[in-house]
């Protein structure tokens, strides 16, 4: 018995050594380990979300029950109806989407313009001006908050989306910096070839730089969308009319009225409000997969 085991172990060991040096096996093993870790990670990361879903389907009493009820019995689907109709969530959604999408499109484009200038074009004093971009990046918005509020109040822009949209459409330092970092990695060969062919810098930007920067543009656009969709302090400061509320101010209403937060309703409403960004992200993922385009220079 012992001999047999030893022999088996021996041959097994040889087999394993052979496998280890096999490229295909290595790659397969790494994929398997990565997949396992991903599943583990998803379980940990998703647990609060699962708990959120579970809570959203409980009665108020069951939500506070201890030891916890894992699967709500009975499932109170009615919570969603109450959560979404006790406040005009349809209008909140429309407001949030108009605000976030407008800023996303205009800010990404204007940031890409400036980013190209800073990444590729040579001009005296460029580095000094870029220091201003960096400084803005480091500038806490609290610094500009109070003077901006006074300014917009004097312009009669309060209780509208103008103070939230207009300052954003000229580019954001965060996006400019990220896109510049990315564009610096694009080899000059393309541009110089286009310049010889007589292309203007604008058409180089539009026809060469933007398509090559798609993964970074996609990332910047999504982050911009998320930031403004989730923005809480800005709307809190500028929006007063309930019918102009974005989703975030609408969500907050679940916290305020009764003192004690109705977690089941809050979770139900939160779950519905996270759907639009999740859907946008899922469909924009192809931009990231296109990342291979950047290495197009290797061909």
């Amino acid at each position: 018995m012992a001999e047999l085991t030893e022999t088996q172990a021996y041959t097994g060991k040889r087999g394993v050594t052979g496998l280890w040096s096999n490229q295909k096996f290595q790659r397969g093993l790494i994929t398997a380990v990565a997949t396992f870790l991903c599943i583990l990670g998803v379980v940990v990361i998703m647990f609060p979300v699962a708990w959120m879903i579970s809570t959203s389907l409980k009665t108020e009493a069951a939500a506070l029950q201890f030891p916890p009820q894992w699967i709500p019995k009975p499932a109170v689907w009615h919570n969603y109806w109450v959560a979404l109709t006790s406040n005009p969530f349809g209008i909140y959604f429309k407001n949030s989407m108009l605000y976030a999408i407008t800023v996303m499109v205009l800010q990404t484009l204007s940031s890409a313009l400036a980013a190209y200038g800073f990444a590729k074009l040579r001009a005296p004093g460029k580095n000094l001006i870029f220091l201003f971009v960096l400084a803005t990046l480091m500038l806490p918005y609290e610094v500009t908050l109070i003077p901006q509020y006074v300014m917009f109040a004097k312009m009669g822009w309060l209780d509208s989306y103008k103070p939230l949209i207009i300052p954003q459409i000229f580019g954001a330092s965060y996006s400019i910096f990220l896109l510049r970092q990315f564009m610096r990695g694009i080899p000059r060969d393309y541009e110089e070839a286009a310049l010889i062919d007589g292309a203007s810098y604008f058409s180089i930007w539009w026809r060469i730089i933007l398509p090559l920067s798609m993964p970074a543009l996609g990332a910047v656009a999504i982050i911009t969308f998320m930031w403004h969709y989730n923005n809480f302090m800005g709307p809190l400061l500028y929006i007063n009319s309930r019918l102009l509320y974005p989703v975030q101010l609408g969500l907050q209403q679940f916290q305020a009225p009764h003192g004690g937060t109705e977690y089941n309703l809050l979770m139900a409403a939160s779950l519905v409000t996270i759907l639009p960004p999740v859907i946008v992200f899922y469909f924009a993922q192809r931009f990231f997969i296109q990342g291979i385009v950047i290495s197009g220079v290797k061909g």
Partner: protein
């Protein structure tokens, strides 16, 4: 370089003109909505201003008030500890997941969406979710801790779960958990950068006999180093500006015992609760200077380690 057929001066003047055209929208927005208000805040920091009456010049008084204010120093400390804890942990965690997703994992789209999901959850809702999950009496996390190592648990070590948001020691780790949960944005940036690394470099490294670890260390890390630096700096800036989570948890009190009085939270309380606009403006400017110093330090230290492909020119 063969492009330089025309006299060099004309070409470079044309290029410089285009540079200004490209950045002109940003310059306009910067002057009107950033530079102007920033200088306005600087002016206000030297005044006494309560919104109702016009600002009155008081010199350095606001800065003097802050220097002798215990809560101000406490808020600086809280934000510094939170930054030192959440930023490095966040980078390691996001990079690790991004690398996993960059392998040939099946159902990549599904994994990516699930990992990203928490970071799209509104701050207010996410914070309320964690307040509830980390509740010492009814929270699910402390329920697990008690079930495993509590007095009557599987391994009866008699360890009870932390009081999280009620405990001066555990309150910052609790906030760190919220921030780690929203790691999706930096994960996306890393993933985008990883996918931008030319496969030719990996192939060349493999031919030269480099294993996975060496390829990661000598190809991946240098190629994504600008992006790592970027997320490090923005991570510091972002964590020093933490407000919404803290506001939802303690409504501006910084409880327990000012252990969660984040810098910007105190700034906000001073501006809109105490209506000490001048003092709040001074706080804002001090924050700006702190962030500026930290960033310049990071840029300076990292100069040797960050690699820009097209500048070095050697890669191709």
């Amino acid at each position: 370089m063969a492009v330089r057929i025309l006299p060099k001066g004309r070409l470079s003047r044309r290029e410089a003109l285009w540079f200004w055209l490209f950045i002109s929208p940003w310059v306009f927005g910067y002057v009107v909505f950033t530079l102007g208000p920033t200088l306005g805040a600087l002016y206000l920091s030297f005044t006494h201003y309560d919104v109702i009456n016009p600002p009155r010049w008081v010199g350095l008084q606001n800065y003097g008030i802050l220097f002798h204010d215990f809560v101000f120093w406490q808020s600086l400390k809280v934000s510094a500890i939170y930054t030192a804890l959440s930023v490095p942990l966040g980078i390691v965690f996001s990079l690790f997941i991004a690398i996993l997703l960059n392998q040939k994992v099946p159902f990549l789209g599904v994994f990516r969406t699930l990992f990203f999901l928490p970071s799209v959850i509104p701050f207010v809702a996410a914070t309320l979710l964690f307040i509830w999950i980390l509740n010492p009496a009814f929270g699910i996390i402390d329920f697990f801790i008690r079930a495993f190592v509590g007095p009557n648990g599987l391994i009866p070590l008699g360890i009870d779960g932390p009081q999280w948001f009620q405990d001066p020691f555990w309150v910052i780790p609790a906030f760190t958990l919220i921030s780690l949960w929203g790691f999706g944005s930096s994960m996306l940036i890393y993933l985008s950068a990883l996918q931008g690394v030319p496969t030719a470099l990996y192939e060349a490294a493999t031919i030269d006999g480099a294993g996975y670890w060496k390829r990661f260390w000598h190809v991946t890390l240098p190629m994504i180093s600008p992006v790592l630096l970027f997320t490090f700096i923005t991570g510091i800036i972002g964590s020093f500006q933490t407000f919404t989570q803290a506001w939802v948890v303690n409504g501006g009190t910084g409880s327990p015992a000012y252990a969660s009085m984040f810098y910007v939270l105190y700034l906000f309380v001073n501006a809109f609760r105490n209506f000490a606009i001048g003092t709040a403006a001074a706080q804002a400017w001090i924050l700006f200077i702190v962030i500026l110093v930290l960033t310049i330090l990071a840029l300076w230290v990292s100069r040797r380690y960050v690699y820009y492909e097209s500048e070095e020119g050697g890669a191709f």
